[in-house]
């Protein structure tokens, strides 16, 4: 429009303000992670002693790297499992014909309404019975599959032209072959979206690991930060901020590299 010409500087101003608001906590967190805790405690947000000492301290004195490793292991396993089981499940709902399929689909859809947070009590009892407590398994097994993932991939698989299945039937491909050679490659964008989604979901788990892990050996990073926070009575802010930055940097990198996919995938999910 014509008016925008004159408004340009104003729009940049608003954009920059908004960017500052969004980035503020990051910048402040990163900046204070470079300051000596003594200076932070005095309320000084400026210091001449800028260093990575807090990072060295965090890595040496806390199990922050172990927490990160745990989270990577848990999230990667969860992601891989969800890709496999959700795609298998979705395949069954699209390409297989069996009795009670619709009913089963509705049941699985219904589970999307049930918040995990409201089911922790019996679930805790279950994993305790299975002697899974305080192990990677306890944070992976309940999330091997997800109703949302099945639903989302089912949507994607339905976009596969029926002619492909017919052609595969003519070629004599069985279901495994069709699943592996056609369905998965065809829906790879959706698979990627699910991968990103399940990884982040697992990465952000907080309540469940908090209830089921009892040692640093298996504690994921979210609860690791909680651990650091609650152990420090004399708030060692420099080190805590450094730990937070160590945790946030990998996900930020993944986000920026994979931004393109998140955007497409999310919008697909939102508009379908």
């Amino acid at each position: 429009m014509i008016q925008t010409k004159t408004r340009k500087p104003l729009r940049y101003l608003v954009l920059i303000l908004l960017a500052i608001i969004i980035l503020g906590p990051f910048i402040l967190g990163f900046w204070t992670s470079l300051l000596p805790t003594a200076d932070i405690a005095k309320g000084a947000l400026w210091s001449t002693h800028i260093s990575f000492a807090n990072y060295a301290e965090a890595v040496k004195q806390t199990a922050i790297l172990r927490y990160l490793l745990n989270s990577f292991v848990i999230s990667t396993l969860t992601m891989a499992a969800q890709l496999l089981f959700c795609s298998l499940g979705a395949y069954a709902f699209v390409f297989l014909k069996f009795k009670g399929r619709d009913l089963l689909f509705y049941l699985i859809l219904a589970t999307m309404m049930l918040p995990f947070e409201a089911e922790v009590i019996p679930n805790f009892a279950t994993v305790r019975q299975l002697n899974l407590l305080n192990h990677y398994a306890v944070m992976v097994i309940p999330f091997l599959t997800s109703a949302f993932g099945i639903f989302m991939l089912r949507q994607a698989f339905r976009q596969i032209p029926p002619e492909l299945k017919e052609a595969a039937d003519v070629e004599g491909l069985n279901h495994w072959q069709f699943y592996w050679r056609v369905t998965l490659p065809y829906a790879r964008i959706s698979l990627f979206t699910l991968a990103a989604y399940s990884f982040l979901e697992s990465w952000n788990q907080y309540l469940w690991p908090m209830l089921t892990t009892f040692s640093d050996k298996f504690r994921p990073v979210q609860d690791g930060l909680r651990q650091l926070q609650s152990q420090e009575t004399f708030n060692n802010w420099g080190m805590i901020q450094a730990s937070a930055v160590i945790v946030v940097v990998p996900t930020l990198i993944v986000l920026f590299v994979g931004q393109h996919y998140f955007k497409n995938g999310l919008n697909e999910g939102a508009t379908k």
Binding site: G43, L88, F93, F95, F98, I121, P122, R226, Q241, A270
Partner: protein, 316 residues
Amino acid sequence: MQQEITPASKPSLKPKTLNQANAKGFNLHVNDKWYALAFLGPSVLILGVFVFYPMLRTLYLSLFLTNNVGRPTVFIGLKNYVNLLTSSAYQASLQATAVYVIGVVAFTLILGLLLAQMAVRKLAGIQWFRTIFSATMGVSVSVAAIFWLFIFSPSIGLFDQIGTLLHLPLVQWLTTPGPAMIAVIISTVWMNLGFTFLILFGALQMVPQPLYEAAAIEGASPSYQFFHVTLPMISPTLFFTSTVTLIGAFKSFGLIDLMTAGGPNNATNLMVYQVYRDAFLNGNYGLASAESVILAVIIALFTLLQFKFLEKRVTY
């Protein structure tokens, strides 16, 4: 009027009875039950054990008193529910949850929309802003909580310092009820913004440009265009985003745990936190189960609403 849905836009919540290849192909009479077992078995097992069974079990537990090691011992019918709904503490928790959820949803949407609206117009370097606006998607709960804890911390925190500079009365953000609620809402909104921005930005980008041009020629001012073109055009996405945010807010736990632990004076004691407290701090599993059921019902209702809307949903 008639909610006629074009085939392309039909959200496929309903399974089609006759499906694609199998209906038309020559293996019409094949029953794939063994395949189905192999393909679906794992998912059904996991969902059954960790989603279906626990819901029933929670319902069951909610009707009992539990002993000091968490086993249900005395059947008391709906007594737990009665006690809860008449308890002023639980009512306060419901109220706090309502305030929190409404605050989070409202501000997340408004700010998300503002960000998206600002980022959607083409400008030199706008790509940078888009990336920045989506940055909080990469932030996990604990990191967000720690960043904001520092900002809100007394005397050394940013807000306190700014307040001191401007000679404003000091606010004990996390230790006074009202401000503590505001603080957790701000933090949650910030954490939500990246995701909300991306979704709304995508929706705005899909609004056809000629609609704005037509509106401009027809005499609509920018604000008229926003309310009478932009908002209606993205209303399905707006609805999707608000329910997702709403359900997420109902489930908020980590941020509360780290920032306020439900305090001060239970001012931020949200429903999930109350479940955690009663179960895993107080060992009152029967009562906590009843609280879980109430929480599940509320969330299920909103999810159902979302499904219903998705099904009816009109894509233009």
